[in-house]
Amino acid sequence: MAIDDDLVVRARAGEIRAFEALFEARVAAMLRLAAAIVGNDDAGDAVQQASIQAWRELPHLREVDRFDAWFGRILTNSCRAVLRSRRRRQVREVPVASLDEATGIKLSARSSPSPAEQTSEVDVLSRAFDRLSADARVLLALHHLEGRSLAETAARSGISIATAKWRLHEARTALERALELERR
């Protein structure tokens, strides 16, 4: 039995230290995904809620080797819940400072933008992302940030591959529309 499987079995049986070991090994990646989906302000809450829910419901997990997929779905659902709890809100500001470090990518076909333009364009794309629905954000993050295949993205989202493909396309289109709005 793999080390993690053993930990899952023990955590499922109620051993707190085993669950803590599982959580500590995953918390960095969880925070990264949550921050990408919900933003820096709420990522900690999303991870915390997901972790506590996972601990409470772990006895219901039947297949030990599906722990990561199961935990991942709880996290993305927690992100959805965080976003929905904000209700319909205005686009929030994303700290430009954190985006400054990202890259100098350009978001349009213009050639040789200045560093100021590059920062601004990353910021604009991030703000456009903030306009998307929770489901769209989750799909884009799973596929483009975590690099998950279409099948994995579908499985993590509880939808068929065909639906995932379609909704990814819709999410992408929505992002492009949102970007146009941000640029006006």
Partner: protein, 288 residues
């Protein structure tokens, strides 16, 4: 995906990586979570709580089954295959002829399919979907589908920004469910027809939303959230003009919807006719 777009894959990835560079203290978060977990009790598994009862029931059931098999012979007990979905839906091969039992769907159900006519697409605790496979073609989402849904709740308002959908219990009978639906969608003037499905009384109505009908949801009219444990999974009725048949039966006070749709290419008659073969073979057990 191609990068020949207004926004490229690489730009999306880099933007998400930038967002993912959070400024949160991992140590503080770990301490907070672990402190909370120390005070949080796990939810015991139902199986654990009811182990003795289930063991007795399983033994009794196995005894009866063995005796029945010995007495009646295997011909009276055609084999029932477990319905396995391993690829997330679309790429499942068409089922071979036989009788099937979904592994997740509740209420427990068995049904028969002809060879090559249907492929399994969804098997969740409250939603079961088979997709129509037309002769000579692979299973496609636009070829029509047969969907069986346990109605846990219904939406109470418009789809909101960020997918904020309000849900409520209620619609606790076929009449109440169709009355609610009639207030949401243009079902037409005809009264629902009384039918029998799997020996249960049911109400049936067919409709096709006008092509200019506008709804507030992105992907269709949201009907019910069949997810569990905070894990949303929505079931939708297509409202893009295709014809849809809704049959709602009462299973011990629980409305269960059997939805037949012809698919985007609108082979409704064909889909309904082949769906009827499956529906007429259905046998429900009581909800677990």
């Amino acid at each position: 995906m191609s990068d020949n777009r207004f926004v490229t894959d690489e730009q999306i990835r880099l933007m998400l990586e930038a967002r993912g560079r959070h400024g949160i203290s991992v140590a503080d978060l770990v301490a907070s979570v672990e402190g909370t977990i120390e005070q949080t009790t796990q939810v015991p598994h139902e199986l654990l709580r009811a182990r003795w009862w289930r063991a007795v029931a399983a033994t009794a059931f196995a005894s009866v089954a063995i005796i029945a098999l010995l007495v009646a012979g295997p011909k009276l007990w055609p084999s029932i295959h477990d319905l396995h979905i391993t690829t997330g839906g679309l790429t499942e091969p068409a089922l071979e002829a036989g009788r099937y039992r979904p592994t997740m769907f509740d209420p427990p159900i068995t049904f028969s399919v002809p060879a090559g006519g249907w492929a399994p697409a969804v098997d969740l605790s409250a939603e079961l979907q088979l997709r129509r496979v037309r002769p000579g073609e692979e299973a496609r989402p636009d070829n029509g589908a047969l969907t069986i849904v346990r109605i846990n709740n219904v939406m109470t308002g418009a789809c909101g920004y960020n997918g904020n959908v309000p849900w409520t219990a209620g619609a606790d009978s076929p009449h109440a469910f169709l009355a609610w639906l009639g207030g949401q969608l243009p079902l037409g003037q005809g009264a629902p027809r009384a039918v029998t499905i799997a020996g249960k009384q049911a109400l049936e109505i067919s409709f096709g939303a006008p092509v200019d009908f506008r709804h507030t949801c992105d992907y269709g009219f949201l009907l019910t959230d069949v997810g569990t444990s905070g894990d949303p999974h929505w079931v939708e009725i297509p409202v893009d003009g295709r014809e849809v048949r809704l049959q709602v039966l009462d299973l011990s006070g629980q409305p269960v919807l059997v939805m037949t749709e012809g698919g985007k290419l609108n082979w409704y008659d064909e889909a309904a006719a082949t769906a009827d073969e499956v529906i007429s073979s259905m046998s429900f057990e009581e909800i677990r």
